[in-house]
């Protein structure tokens, strides 16, 4: 047995997990990107990604060959993030999924030359659940896949994406 930064205990994975580890490690940049936006600092983001791999590879036997490895890893990262928030007594904002997006118009000129700093700040200002859907959308997941990762109906994902983008329009449109 082997501990990872004192947060998770990893048992040696079964032999069949060898190639799974390699394939899983190929997604570290994508997972870290989401962790970065969820945690807001590098140290916590690295811990979260390490927790994710520890949990994923300890439970490698539960991964079904042929299923979506990326989605599986993102789902585990989400679970790890929620568990960490609970341990720290952090209350995550639950968005009201019955609300419609408010369409806000803003000048495209304001949005044409956005910098990484402005985008990062705007994402950080979103509720956590909005950050999940926005980032998973950037990573190319379909609404159905995002729904499977965040465990909510596809209609809810669609609504959250729409509202998250509406908020980004306000945050980024007014950032210049």
């Amino acid at each position: 047995m082997r501990g990872i930064r004192g947060l998770a205990v990893v048992t040696d994975p079964p032999e069949s997990a060898g190639s799974l580890a390699d394939r899983a490690l190929a997604h570290v940049d994508e997972l870290y990107g989401l962790a970065h936006h969820l945690c807001g600092n590098a140290a916590d983001a690295e811990d979260l990604v390490q927790d994710t791999y520890a949990r994923a590879l300890a439970g490698a036997a539960r991964f079904e060959d042929g299923s979506n490895l990326r989605a599986w890893l993102f789902r585990i990262l989400r679970n790890c993030f929620i568990d960490r928030a609970r341990r720290r007594n952090v209350v995550l904002e639950i968005p009201d999924d019955t609300l419609d997006a408010t369409v806000v118009d803003c000048s495209p000129d304001q949005l044409r030359y956005l910098t990484a700093v402005e985008v990062e700040r705007a994402i950080a200002a979103l509720p956590v659940e909005f950050r999940f859907v926005i980032y998973l959308d950037v990573e190319g997941f379909t609404e159905a896949e995002i729904a499977d990762i965040v465990r909510c109906p596809a209609g809810t994902v669609k609504s959250r994406l729409s509202r998250a983008k509406a908020r980004l329009r306000v945050l980024l449109g007014g950032s210049k």
Binding site: A21, L25, P108, R112, A116, V117
Partner: protein, 212 residues
């Protein structure tokens, strides 16, 4: 108008939302999980014969196949350089002007003569995608360093060239600090730190041109 705004926001997210994992995290994960695979391999090799297994192990290590964790000093040095580069880049952005403003490297490099203790080994002259804007003398890790400023559309990219410290890693490392992307590497005793708010694809493309 809203469709156009959505399209621009989507483009900005694609360009800037992705943040690569630090090299130290990748090394740590590889060392943790890939080492196990080698441990499973060992009993199989012992059946082939101790000498063959040992020779194979030596060969793997010589080829660098086995992940080796670099000394912790490498990681700290890379992060230190990246953090300093971001601060210096912000000073470049806020400065009223550069020491030398020229798009011709043959004007910029000679300008450094007598101002630095070394000749900055930068041969990329700039091109249509990354035009050279000029250069200046910066102070990097307490020593004089060369700052080259390139453009990318409306963005500014700073390249700091400095004398590398013994702990600096040769391989390119990448960091995102306060939204700025930074990549550092060393070649032949010279350290390079490239920093900007452009997306990673642009920054890596410029790094490749500088490394050629």
């Amino acid at each position: 108008m809203t469709d156009e705004a959505d399209r621009l926001i989507d483009a900005a997210l694609r360009d800037h939302a992705r943040v690569p994992a630090p090299a130290r995290l990748k090394r740590k994960l590889a060392a943790t999980y890939q080492r196990r695979e080698r441990r499973w391999l060992a009993p199989a090799l012992s059946g082939v014969g101790g000498a063959v297994a040992a020779a194979l192990a030596v060969w793997l290590i010589m080829r660098g196949t086995a992940p080796t964790a670099p000394p912790p000093g490498d990681e700290l040095a890379s992060l230190d350089a990246a953090t300093e580069a971001v601060g210096d880049h912000q000073r470049v952005l806020g400065a009223r002007g550069l020491g030398v403003v020229a798009s011709d490297m043959h004007q910029v490099k000679p300008w450094f003569a007598g101002k630095l203790d070394f000749v900055p080994p930068v041969s990329f002259l700039g091109d249509d995608e990354f035009p050279l804007h000029g250069g200046d003398v910066a102070v990097f890790r307490g020593h004089k360093a060369a700052a080259f400023v390139y453009g990318a559309r409306l963005h500014v990219i700073s390249l700091f060239v400095y004398e590398a410290a013994p702990g600096d890693a040769a391989a390119a490392d990448e960091h995102t600090i306060r939204g700025f992307h930074v990549t550092t590497w060393t070649t032949g005793g010279t350290g390079f730190a490239l920093v900007s708010d452009v997306n990673w694809d642009d920054l890596r493309r410029l790094r490749n041109r500088l490394s050629q």
